[in-house]
């Protein structure tokens, strides 16, 4: 019986005795003292430090290796595939250590490999007014869980994709694509291009190219890989899988410029396996690609060896043409870097590292690796280290070939810096050591100006003038309580900010930036909520100045430990944990709450509009709100 087996399995699992006694002693201590309101954030902070210590252990060795490998760059072109692969094998093999591996059944390869030339198609939804994914750079699309082309709405629901025909009140679900055989957990994201739906997934299994199905081969050939699935959705009712691309490693990030998809993944060779890697087993230490027809190892020329070889992971970036169903190019280098920022011409990877002076004092640096991208062709440009860590994609920007970025550096205190780097990543200008003891909470670059918020005691909103890259300067500083997590331009002269008050409540604010030397706060509004997804995920928020819409989800849950005396213990609703979707309009210098829709799920909400209706994605359902009456008219 399933029940008995589950009982058997779970009974074997229990918390460590050490953990138990630690908690028991804490219970003893805490009986008198009041508790800090946010244990969870404290725990997260502890974990971060533990992690940092782990990373630190490697740093010293790495620097030595950088020098050694610099010599290798020049000879790289002459060496054959084999010698490069040998080098990698050596480096990887050193890291080979024993660890429990896991294995299961293999899957059948069910791709259809017929590629077809693109025919001229009329773009769908051309006449309609609809919203697009909120992106960092205007023309560079980002993958998301909720997309529309004006006629149809595509929604990710765990491992399914629901397709709806958008017809205002008559909207209905017309098709569900079940992708569970291609994905481990949730679908990572999707794109729409003309009549094609591009889906990104990650799966851990045997790559289907191996002919030998013996137990050993199936075991050693298991790995994480990221898949690009291209569906023809000319007629969404009969959506069909047209092409499949595969690259090694789990999903990191992706961008799309016109029809070219840039997909980044992180691949770790099979070093944790009990079976030691043999030299001939290339599939265990080299990245593999599937271009729709054939599998191939990454060409040696595409692996950048100029940096350290003693990292155990590859960061991979590959480009695909969606229009022509083609794989174009691939490049990789060693490290655990994130694809942080992509402009129209360049892609930037960042990787943060920590160096400890003693037990408590440490400093952080970020390695930036730059690739130029041109219609799918990817070329390595430069790699440099700068002081401090980067918060998110909004902390970086590119203008006229200059990379501008803001970082927070940990030393004895925390310091904030603003850097301008030229096209080879050499520093040309900087403003350093801003706002001691504070850190950056949000940033936004708009043309020649940069706006960023730091927080600890006060909340300055800085405005920096970058019109002269050699001499950036801070032109103004606005101090207000609380902070903003997200900044978005609203028209030419205003900036919208979403953040928290000092007490931890969600707030929204509007700033006047028409006079750069004197930024003003126009209005701020406190919301009865504790958290908004939008503060960490810019895809969750929609700010549209033309339509005059500001829409985002918030959560209300109680972390307040102070007033527990009045709390009625039998009232379990004290713990109620409800999410709402707010739609605001901004007029006459005031925020007006137009709609407050109660939601079912706890996270991953998205919203979009088509003409006069607003669609909210909520745990596999669709809520439709009229933008005239601001009432929910239907739930599908």
């Amino acid at each position: 019986m399933f029940k008995d087996k589950l009982k058997n399995d779970l009974d074997k699992l229990s918390p460590d005795e050490q953990t138990k006694s630690a908690i028991l002693s804490r219970i003893d201590n805490e009986k008198v003292k009041p508790l800090y309101p946010k244990i969870i954030s404290a725990v997260a902070a502890c974990l971060a430090i533990v992690l940092a210590v782990g990373v630190m252990a490697n740093v010293d060795k790495i620097d030595e290796n950088v020098k050694k490998h610099e010599k290798k760059v020049t000879s790289q072109t002459k060496t054959s595939n084999q010698t490069v692969y040998d080098k990698i094998y050596k480096a990887v093999n050193k890291k080979n250590r024993s660890y429990k591996s896991y294995f299961g059944e293999s899957i059948k390869d069910e791709h259809s490999s017929d590629s077809y030339a693109s025919d001229t198609i009329q773009e769908p939804g051309a006449s309609k007014d609809y919203s697009k994914t909120n992106t960092v750079v205007e023309d560079v699309d980002e993958d998301d869980l909720f997309k529309t082309d004006g006629d149809y709405i595509y929604q990710v629901d765990e491992s399914d994709i629901n397709i709806y025909k958008a017809e205002d009140k008559k909207t209905k679900k017309i098709k569900t694509l079940d992708l569970s055989k291609y994905t481990d957990y949730n679908i990572k994201g999707m794109y729409l291009f003309k009549n094609k739906l591009v889906v990104l997934t990650t799966y851990y299994d045997v790559l289907p190219y191996t002919s030998c199905k013996c137990k050993y081969c199936t075991k050693i050939n298991k790995q994480s890989y990221t898949t690009v699935l291209i569906y023809d959705v000319k007629n969404p009712k009969e959506a069909k899988l047209k092409t499949k691309f595969i690259q090694s490693g789990y999903y990191n990030s992706s961008r799309m410029i016109d029809d070219t998809l840039y997909l980044s993944s992180t691949y770790t060779p099979d070093i944790y396996s009990k079976n030691k890697i043999k030299k001939k087993e290339k599939s265990r230490y080299l990245p593999i690609f599937y271009d729709g027809k054939n599998y191939h190892y990454q060409n040696s020329g595409c692996i950048n060896l100029s940096d350290k070889l003693d990292k155990t992971s590859y960061s991979i970036i590959a480009s695909y043409s969606i229009d022509y169903n083609l794989k174009i190019d691939d490049k990789s280098f060693f490290g655990y870097a994130d694809l942080k920022f992509v402009s129209n011409n360049n892609a930037y990877f960042t990787e943060e590292s920590y160096r400890y002076y003693n037990k408590e004092q440490f400093t952080n640096k970020t390695k930036i690796t730059k690739f130029s991208i041109d219609n799918g062709a990817i070329k390595f440009v430069a790699s440099k280290k700068i002081e401090g860590g980067i918060l998110n994609s909004f902390s970086m920007d590119e203008k006229d070939g200059y990379l501008r970025l803001v970082t927070t550096q940990q030393k004895d205190k925390s310091y904030n810096h603003l850097f301008v780097l030229d096209k080879n990543l050499h520093k040309v200008g900087s403003v350093e050591n801003l706002a001691k003891n504070e850190r950056i909470y949000s940033a936004r670059f708009l043309g020649d100006y940069a706006y960023f918020v730091t927080y600890r005691n006060t909340d300055p909103l800085f405005c920096a003038d970058l019109s002269n890259p050699q001499e950036p300067k801070i032109v103004s500083e606005l101090k207000i309580p609380g902070f903003s997590n997200y900044l978005h331009p609203f028209g030419k002269n205003k900036i919208f900010g979403l953040g928290e008050t000092d007490g931890g409540n969600t707030k929204i604010a509007m700033y006047d930036i028409s006079n750069k030397e004197k930024i003003k706060e126009i209005v701020t509004k406190k919301l009865g909520a504790n958290y908004s997804d939008a503060s960490y995920d810019h895809h969750a928020i929609m700010v549209d100045e033309k339509k005059n819409l500001i829409a985002f989800p918030v959560d209300t849950f109680n972390y307040n430990y102070d007033d527990y005396d009045d709390y009625d213990y039998e009232d379990l609703s004290y713990y109620e944990d409800v999410s709402y979707y707010y739609i605001f309009k901004f007029s006459n210098n005031k925020f007006k709450l137009k709609a407050r829709i109660k939601l079912d799920d706890i996270y991953k909400f998205r919203g979009l509009y088509i003409d006069d209706y607003f669609y909210i994605s909520d745990s596999g359902h669709l809520r439709i709100v009229s933008l005239k009456t601001f009432k929910q008219v239907k739930k599908v």
Binding site: F2, N8, D16, D28, E30, Y251, Y569, E576, I602
Partner: protein, 165 residues
């Protein structure tokens, strides 16, 4: 139902230490099923009992206490799952899953299910709660819980071929 029918007055009190010794495994296992990570389950276990210490709740009876603990565990796990930290680290952490794949008979397949189905399956098959009771604990409707259980079971039937439910 079971929250309110058994007693007329709340007079049932259990000391934090006693409650911890008796129910720490139960709380930890539910947190484990929800978050699929030992480390997260440890953190949640601590959070839940910190709440217990500070709120000093009184109950109708022991069943009520158990339900309270499960409910708080679910809330803490939900808060945890949605924290930005967890969102960023989730993708990397498959070590627990790998371990389970080798050592468990059926649990590794349960871990593969979507989070909601996992909770429902855990409470129904392991803790032995009925659909109505699960609905109360999860603050949902019996119909929804039924759907979770049904869908979870359907997936398990495919992945665990020939298993008797």
């Amino acid at each position: 139902m079971f929250f309110f029918t058994t007693g007329t007055e709340k007079h049932y009190i259990m000391s934090s230490e006693q409650a911890f010794n008796k129910y720490s495994d139960m709380v930890w296992r539910l947190a484990l099923s929800k978050t699929a990570s030992r480390e997260n389950a440890d953190d949640i276990l601590q959070d839940v009992f910190m709440k217990y210490v500070h709120k000093k709740p009184k109950f109708y009876d022991e069943e009520h206490l158990k339900a309270w603990l499960l409910r708080v565990t679910i809330n803490c796990s939900n808060s945890f799952l949605r924290s930005p930290w967890e969102k960023k680290t989730q993708a990397l952490d498959d070590s627990f899953y790998i371990e389970m794949k080798e050592t468990s008979q059926v649990y590794y397949e349960v871990l593969k299910l979507p989070e909601k189905y996992r909770t429902a399956i855990h409470l129904h098959y392991y803790e032995g709660y009925s659909v109505d009771e699960i609905a109360k604990i999860c603050k949902s409707t019996p119909a929804t819980v039924k759907t979770w259980l049904f869908r979870g079971r359907e997936i398990l039937k495919q992945t665990l071929e020939g298993e008797d439910f």
